[in-house]
Amino acid sequence: MVTLTIDRCHQQPVYEQVADQIRRLISADELAPGTALPSVRQLARDLGVNLNTIARAYRLLEAEGFLAIRDRAGVTVAAPPAEVDHAARSKLLDQMRVTLARLRQTGMTTGELMKVVRREVDALGTRPGQEHGHG
């Protein structure tokens, strides 16, 4: 069974820890599209945190397209959109450019940057029907 672990004493807020881990699990296909996640109430009880903390994490992931929240069906993992959202993709690429530039500014070499990007892409795994290392 897929699990999630938070550190209550970590600097990073709990809602970000929750969102980060769910994002990673979905990207790595450990949570397949359509998988039902615990309700806000159940996850808050299990973690022993405020309901708003989990609601905030779920809303963030819904806005990013990772989750679908419906009243009766509950919270499920969203399938990638059938059509490419060019505007959203362009915005994310802009953010990546800024992040790469900032990393370069910290003193990282091109080789180191390539290594980091490769490692992160490898960590995402390969989705069925996609060839590893291509677009």
Partner: protein
Amino acid sequence: MGEAIVVNAFLTLRVFLVGGLLVALPRVTRKGLLLGAYVGEEVADGEPARQLVRSWDRGCLIVMAISLMVGYGISLAGRPVTGNLTGTAVLLLAALGLYVRHYSMARRLTPPESVRRVELVTVPLVAPARTGERLAKTALAICVALSLGTVVYATLSYRVMPPLVPDAFGGVGGSAELSPKSVITVLFVPTLNLVLSPFFALMGLLTAGAKRSVRGGSGGGSAEAQESFRTLMANVFSGTALFICAVLTVLSAHIVRTGLGRTGFLWAVFALSGAMLLFMVASLIWILKAHGQGGALRESATAEMPLTGGLADNAHWILGMFYVDRDDPSIMVEKRFGIGYSLNYGNRSALVIVGTFALLILGLGALGLFGIVL
């Protein structure tokens, strides 16, 4: 003499059931917990922990022997019922004292790093199965409908009932005595049904949504074990609620019918009560034997897979029995020592539920007593 034998047999059965359960509990509890304290998975496997459990076993046997001797002694002096009650009271009080002593000893075995607030919490990220919740909701609906039905039936029959009515199993437990007709004597059992059976169904519903305590690391199958255990416990509550409802519904109907001079069916009340006790005892013994407390027997546990969250957090447990965490929205949490789930006494909803139930039962008890005295 015959009465003394039956009463003593009940006392003996009770002492062996409770004593046997107390001896069994440390063996079916989740690894890392020792007599209500979280001591860590490594310490729980060590020799000091085993010595403490042996001391607990000896203590339980002594408590059982003392309570039987007290009960039999008073019974031999010609007061079997008092002997039964006193023996039971001695059993419970002595067991409590024994537990508190061993809990304190277990806390001393807790390594310092386990005392600090547990920072890591691991939880299953899959929506739970809803079978327990569905059964509990169905049981709640049935209990409310049937108990309301008994209240309506008793109310409608009130006018045509004679001035003297049977007050079977009223506030003081008198059986089939005749008392002057009053709202209290006629409506006591139906109202008790309206309070008691929905409460048990509600506990089933809360258990179905209780906090899940899974292990860190690879988890050792604890999430699945916990899920099955939680569903089973919720089902036991729902089943018990339905039995209570059936017993009290039949008893209410019996009281009204005999009051109206028709044939009663007290035999059905006894049969259902026996079936209910059998269901509760058998299902709890089976759950403990096959699953262990919290699914302990169906998970692997090592130091790399420690308990996390509230269950492992000694700071939030009073005597290892009462969980109090105001920041935790959980109403029900897994017990550290015992069977099933306990309330989070720091949660306002939990306090409202317990407070309301206690007030209703105390109020009904007082009214019942008042009705019988009249």
